[in-house]
Each structure stands twice: as C-alpha cells, then as structure tokens.
Symmetry: C2
Amino acid sequence: MNDSAPIGVFDSGVGGLTVVREIMRQIPNEKIIYFGDTARVPYGSKSKETVTRYSRQIIRFLEKQNVKAIVVACNTASAYALDELEKVSDIPMLGVVKPGARTASDVTRNGRIGVIGTEATIGSRIYSRYIKEINPGAEVLGKACPLFVPLVEEGLLNDPVTDEIAIRYLSSLIDSGIDTLILGCTHYPLIRATVGKVMGEGVTLVNPAYETARELRELLERGHLLHQVRPELGTNQYQFFVSDAADKFIRFANSIIKYGILSAKTIHIEEY
Amino acid sequence: MNDSAPIGVFDSGVGGLTVVREIMRQIPNEKIIYFGDTARVPYGSKSKETVTRYSRQIIRFLEKQNVKAIVVACNTASAYALDELEKVSDIPMLGVVKPGARTASDVTRNGRIGVIGTEATIGSRIYSRYIKEINPGAEVLGKACPLFVPLVEEGLLNDPVTDEIAIRYLSSLIDSGIDTLILGCTHYPLIRATVGKVMGEGVTLVNPAYETARELRELLERGHLLHQVRPELGTNQYQFFVSDAADKFIRFANSIIKYGILSAKTIHIEEY
C-alpha cells in the first residue's frame, strides 16, 4: 500500500462531510475520495440488510479507487454494517461509532451518557455496547431524532421550529441527568448550537468526527501510511462522488466545508 | 388482457396508499398489487434520471405480476418519468398529475391555482403545463414543501410544528389570491386539515387521488377490463410489496387504510 494513496470516506449523503472537514483540519496532507449516496439517502430509517448491501457496493467502488484506508463516516452504516464490511475487505477501516463511544467514556464524570441519532443507530444500541466495553458501569440513554436530518437539509439550522423539535426530543434526556451527549449522526454537528442551548451548559456535547480524524491519523501512523508532504498544487487532493444530483451536493458541501468544492461526479453505485 | 388481472400501483414509499384507498372505495372489485420503494424513498429530492431509472425497474416488476393497468401513484414519478415509462411498456398507464390538473381546472373560479409538492414536482412545472393545456388563461403558482413528507412520516399530523411550517410554506400562496390548491404529493392528504386551516375556507383543496381513481375506472371500462364481481373470499385481493422494512410499512399502511394489511413482502427491486 502506497502512503500517497487517498483515504476513502463515505456517507449516506452530505452529513459525512463534517467528518471530512475534521480530516482536512487534522491531517491536511492526505488526499480524500468522498462518496455520498445521495440517490438512496437517508439510511437511518432503513433495515440492516439494505444498509449493509448498499455499503458493500460503496466499499467495492472505493477499492477500485485504490484507497489506503476507509472511513465509514455514517453512524447508521457504522452501526449496521462495519463488522460485515471488515470481513469482505482487507483495507484498514474505521467507523465513527467507536471513536464517539471512547470520547464520551473519557469525558463523562457521572457515568450517565446520552446518545442521539437516527432510528437505526439508536435501535441498534451500538453506542451502549461499545461504551460498556470501556466502562461497564456506565448508563447509556438513546433517543432517536428522525426530524433533525430533514431540518438540517432544509437549512433550518438556527430556527424556532428546530428549537421546538429539539426540546421535544431532548426533554427526557435532560430529565435523566446525563452529563455527556454524543451527536450520533453526522448531520447533528450542524445544529450543535441548538442542541447545546437546549441541553444547557452542564452537558458536554461529543462530536465523533473530531475523535474519528484523530484515530484515523493513528491508524495511518501505525501502518506507515501517513502522507508526509502536502500534495502538489494542481493535483486533485479532494475528490467527491455522489450517486445523484451532483449540483445540489456541491451547494450543500460548500456550506459545510470552507474548501471550495468545484465539482462532484455522479456514478451508478448499484453497478459496483 | 384478462379483466381479473390485478392493477399495479406504485409509489416511492407509503404516500401512494392514499391513492390505493380511493381505488378500494371507488372500484372495490379490483385486485391491487402495490409496490412501495421504501429502500430508496424519498424521490422528491432526486434527479429526473434517477427517478426514471427507479421507476423503470418497478414497471418491470409489475409487468412480471401480469397487471392489467399501472397507476403511478407518486407525483414525482408522474412528473419526471411517466412519458418515458409509457414508451417502454404496453400496459395502460395513469399518473396522478393529469387527473389533479383536470380537477383543479374544473374547480377554479378565478383561474388562479396553487400547487404544493416536492422540489422535483414543483421544479418540473408539470402541473402548470397540463393546466394550461386545458385552460390557457389560468395562472399556476407552485410551492415546494420539502418538510411535509418527513413531518407526516413522523406522525405529526395535527401538531403546532406542522402548523408553523405550513404557515411559512403557504403564506405566499395565500397572498397570491388563489382559490384552488392542488395537494401535489400523495402524503399531503394526510395533513389536509392543517393545510385547509392555514389556507382558509375560500380555497378549495384538490386531492388528485380521488380523480385518479375515477379516471382509472374509465380507463378500465374503455378497455373492457373492469372486473365485474368481487374476488372470492380467501383470494389475496390486495398484495403489498416493498423494497425495505416491511414491518414499518405495515404499521404505517394500517394507519392510512382501514382494510387490515397483514403482510408485505420485501423484494430486491434493483434486480428488475
């Protein structure tokens, strides 16, 4: 494996760009190939079998791009498919759930940790499983927030409607006395301010993207795969692929990442 | 073609069941095979090319079920794909857009007609095109309401949040002086009460499902395909297929249709 090969990152759509943003910040020498499954988004309300089938197709696409590592930048795919994907591919792989679970376990003082995410991620209870491996005494409370993704995609990032929905979703978590809350969906960092306001200052918000980028760096270092120099100007350091509607993706992507995304290529992912 | 063959009905997910409900009411002797593309829902934010590719796969599936007619019970698929689908299949086909446009043209008194729907349906301006074929002097105002589908799917049918979002989406239509509003997405009849309250009594709401079932009856009559007697007890008069998450579909379906839906079969639609 060549250290100048790109890192493959995928998500059901645009949310994984919050992870890309962290990778760009923390390991700026790396090339990235991003795939967003915009034709089949969202994953969070789909079954394990379907999410796994879709994720396998994406892994095959990324393998063809000769990536040196793969980041599953989607909580639902990490929860449902990562174990299976690691069996079918030799490429080092990292999800967002384990890093998020580790950070929350480090951060909590009272051992009461909340997780918000899609129906799929919360229903899988995967954060609870990983947190209890680290801290068996921890108590983990999950809450699915299915409207957060459409509200973010509609751009209502600072809006009374999002506030109202957040109050409804989060009130049981406030009452439960958690001191740490995992943003267990890659869209949620975009409404971090709203969630923080509703939860109050006593609750630390954990964005798994930060820790995922840190662990990716370690993974690359261990495998002697860290790229030592910045790619030359004019090389395509960051490449974006989607399964549908590249124009819409580019608009959204540029609102998340300060790097100007000029193009995204549409591919037929079901052919992989 | 056999008059005892079933009618094929498809939608991106569960919304098309509001059309099935009308067909059950108006032509109760017919067998129905319904397909909901729950693995790839929603269609309303996807491109024309993708929606057409998905719809073609569904047509091939329905053809294999030997249906005698097909209802495209999805406004987005009707807007983007119907012309193309009619070219590739000999089976008589009906969308929901033309019937909705006809009803609105009949109902309006001042010639100012509003349409609400997905981004795709509104962006295609297809309602406007059909209405102007019937009434060239009509003025048609479209408004995309992307949050309505997730709000319905989350069950917020009578809820202050849905009211607030409806007020925002609909205020420009109220100001424009329309007297008729087409519910141009099969999910919207489920929040008819909210939309009606916001628009006020002076605006007639048009649900294309009603007129679609009426035109389907005419289509079958013209082709001597109307089934004359009720299927015998014990035959599967209504069969439901989905591309994912049959259990969730059944729960939602039973909340829309009074007929008890006991089962739905999951198929791999991309293999068709």
